[in-house]
């Protein structure tokens, strides 16, 4: 069993039970309290937790405990299956456009890790023999363009910028033309951090999307995000439409329940994990590992 810590708690809770037979509503209710706590402590959104607990309970109550399992193990098995269903089981790959350049666009809240992730993604794609172009569309944050240029230098990828006096919509269009002329097959657009409730800046993203039709819009989410992750993901998805998620700062000790929240409200896969500040600290995302991390195992 992968969920050892919670597993133990559940075994204790259910130890008073006779070892076999059907699970009663009362047994399941007690066990679910532990699951609920573990998920809330991991920052999984309250509503997501509620739905999850209901699904697991509905399945478990009245279930005949399998010969080979204790009641605790049986409940864990159901939790495990439902969690996997929610997180997605397989790894989700990046997609490419049939007609180059393939355009990726990074969006998200302030400080989530977009600019750093642009560099990481460029390096990742270079390893796959792609020729990326980084595009500086953050014209607001002090020294954002300089930051992207430095990052581009670290991975030896060109950076397209037009300073901070031109609109991001215009910059992104010009960048794609530039990529076409230079024969660059991949375009990675860095956008300014913004709040999901900032109407003007959200509209700017819609305009960039309409202008360059990105292959994928990737929502960059800080893995330390708390209950608000659902609002953020929901709003970005509703207003812009996202294709995938990149979870950053997983090198910390957060349980990372935001992953579950974001996945639950958008139904979009988490594609990569940021594992450090350095440009090569970047990995494909493994939903199963994340599930056990969230449950504190």
């Amino acid at each position: 069993m992968i969920f050892e810590g919670l597993s133990e708690k559940l075994q204790n809770t259910l130890s008073k039970l006779k070892s076999k037979g059907k699970l009663t509503e009362k047994d399941v209710k007690e066990a679910m309290r532990e699951v609920k706590l573990a998920l809330l402590e991991a920052d999984v959104n309250f509503k997501v937790v509620k739905d999850f607990i209901k699904r697991v309970s509905d399945r478990a109550v009245g279930d005949e405990v399998m010969e080979s399992l204790t009641p605790g193990q049986h409940v864990i098995k159901i939790v495990n299956e439902e969690l996997t269903a929610l997180m997605g089981s397989g790894q989700s790959k990046l997609t490419f456009s049939s007609k180059p350049p393939t355009i990726y666009m990074m969006v998200g809240l302030q400080g989530s890790g977009k600019t750093t992730t642009c560099g990481k993604l460029a390096k990742h794609l270079k390893k796959q023999q792609k020729n990326p172009l980084l595009v500086a569309c953050d014209i607001y944050r002090p020294a954002a363009i300089q930051q992207l240029k430095t990052v581009g230098g670290q991975v030896d990828v060109p950076v397209f910028s037009m300073g901070d006096g031109t609109s991001p919509v215009h910059i992104s269009k010009a960048a794609v033309e530039h990529a076409n002329r230079q024969g660059l097959d991949t375009v990675i657009i860095d956008t300014a951090g913004r709040l999901h409730i900032d109407e003007l800046l959200m509209e700017e993203l819609q305009q960039i999307k309409a202008a360059v039709k990105p292959q994928e819009i990737l929502l960059v989410v800080d893995s330390m995000t708390g209950q608000d992750a659902v609002n953020v993901a929901e709003q970005f998805h509703e207003q812009i439409g996202i294709d995938g998620v990149i979870l950053t700062k997983l090198d910390g000790d957060t349980r990372g329940g935001a992953a579950l929240s974001v996945r639950a409200v958008t139904q979009k896969p988490i594609k990569f994990a940021g594992m450090g500040e350095k440009i090569d600290e970047f990995e494909p995302f493994h939903p199963d590992r994340m599930a056990s991390r969230i449950l504190g195992m």
Partner: protein, 290 residues
């Protein structure tokens, strides 16, 4: 809050949901609800508005802990700004500088983040916006050496407040936390006469991990206060209750945007109000929808 005039289990459940979704965390939410139940018995009320006011009072009590004034008098003073990656340290320094300058204080900045791409240039922009000097070395150089130089520059120019930026670091990185320890020792040794503010910057969007951040940063340095940023979003930042309650570190300032003026002294009462939300009105809106 639904169920007007009725303080039942569903009512407490709704309060619990409000607190949990504001990132207070399970433990403190349960404690608050328990204390609230006792208070309600004591006061003998069945008015939901009054019950909510009682809860608000409990929250304000916790948040009023400690001295919320920035300790920069008498000069000189040094303000160290620390925290994990991307929470808003450098931006907060830009805003703090503006805040102090409005009080006619002489401010100087130290570019102690020599690691992150563009970090020095970013601080330089904030220095220019505020027209204050920025002491900087090259990218990749020793941050403690920058702080050392900045302290001596501040002394030489009779600067009243020196604000030091530091690189974002996750609290579970031993070597980076040791590097921070070294910076504190330089400040203690080179500037014993200065008032010291060590401000931990927390992002209001952060969940339960913020408690761990506060604990570990607090072990490396004597934190004097918290700056809670990004409160202009929809996140409530409720984790600061757990921090203030367990560590006694007060929230001193809040960040409410990305511009110079977007920094305010922390007010427990309006924070508690925002945290509990305008739920009465929300319920009315929901009712009409159904």
């Amino acid at each position: 809050i639904s169920g007007y005039g009725k303080i039942d289990e569903a009512f407490y459940d709704e309060l619990e949901e409000i607190l949990i979704t504001a990132d207070l965390g399970f433990d403190i939410t349960m404690e608050l609800i328990e204390s609230l139940r006792e208070k309600v018995k004591e006061v003998k009320t069945d008015d939901p508005h009054q019950v909510k006011a009682l809860l608000k009072e409990l929250i304000i009590n916790i948040l009023s802990t400690g001295n919320r004034e920035l300790q920069v008098e008498p000069p000189p003073a040094v303000v160290l700004v620390v925290g994990v990656n991307g929470v808003g340290k450098t931006t907060t320094i830009g805003k703090l500088t503006h805040y102090f300058k409005q009080q006619q204080k002489e401010v100087m900045l130290a570019a102690g983040d020599t690691f992150r791409a563009g970090a020095i240039d970013q601080l330089e922009v904030w220095g220019q916006r505020n027209q204050v000097p920025v002491i900087r070395h090259q990218e990749g150089s020793d941050p403690a050496a920058v702080i050392f130089d900045a302290i001596h520059a501040a002394k030489a120019r009779n600067c009243e407040i020196l604000i030091c930026d530091t690189a974002g670091r996750l609290h579970n990185k031993k070597n980076l936390m040791n590097e921070l320890g070294k910076i504190f020792r330089v400040v203690d040794r080179e500037y014993p006469e200065a008032q010291k503010e060590v401000l931990l910057v927390l992002d209001a969007t952060t969940g339960q991990n913020a408690l761990q951040q506060a604990k570990v940063f607090g072990e490396v340095a004597q934190l004097t206060g918290i700056v809670l940023t990004k409160l202009d979003g929809t996140a409530k930042g409720g984790i600061v209750l757990a921090i203030t309650k367990s560590m006694g570190t007060p929230v001193k300032m809040i960040g409410v945007g990305e511009q110079l003026e977007d920094l305010q002294p922390f007010d427990p009462s309006s924070f508690a109000e925002a945290l509990l939300g305008d739920t009465d009105e929300n319920t009315n809106v929901d009712d009409t929808k159904i």
